[in-house]
Amino acid sequence: GQQVMQIPQYQHVQEGEDFTTYCNSSTTLSNIQWYKQRPGGHPVFLIQLVKSGEVKKQKRLTFQFGEAKKNSSLHITATQTTDVGTYFCAGWSPGGYQKVTFGTGTKLQVIP
């Protein structure tokens, strides 16, 4: 079945440093989403990427979808303590009845 891996598993950064998490799928995806889960909370949708090579920005966050639609990245510029949490990608399989597979997640700690 479809597998979605993320690296790194954990990342500690000083406040103000940049952060990047990478998401790799074993199969070609229809689209990919990113979610953020704060400690003790539930995942919250951040963004969806659909097109090959797509790049989207949300303030300090930049999301990319690979040309082959098998990988994606999330980059945060100048991290803040409010960025703390676990970031998950979620890959959707192509086809009529799409199925979603969440990535393994990257837990971000920001040191003030």
Partner: protein, 115 residues
């Protein structure tokens, strides 16, 4: 804030008991999902539904069952709870009419402990 509800929020139950975790959404979404998540770990899809009377199993082998008799309601049932079922269960819904197509809205979760 999305309108998706889960009850109970916390449940401690003995081995062998039958339990039903409730999930309801008031957004009219046709798609609903159940995930299992251990603390700090990834989400595993255990069941999903693309509409009334439609249910499918996810990637994670599960001894639970689901039903979708009404659009807004997607309960999860464990016939005989075991300690290995101890985890957090997250319900989510999505609709193609949402601002981002298949964006999923998650409920607050049910934290289940089986003793």
């Amino acid at each position: 804030e999305a309108d998706i509800y889960q009850t109970p929020r916390y449940l401690v139950i003995g081995t062998g008991k039958k339990i039903t975790l409730e999930c309801s959404q008031t957004m009219g979404h046709d798609k609903m999902y159940w995930y299992q998540q251990d603390p700090g770990m990834e989400l595993h899809l255990i069941h999903y539904s693309y509409g009334v009377n439609s249910t499918e199993k996810g990637d994670l082998s599960s001894e639970s069952t689901v039903s979708r008799i009404r659009t807004e309601h997607f309960p999860l049932t464990l016939e005989s709870a075991r300690p290995s079922h101890t985890s957090q269960y997250l319900c989510a819904s999505s609709g193609a009419s949402g601002r981002s197509g298949y964006e999923q809205y998650f409920g607050p979760g049910t934290r289940l402990t089986v003793t």
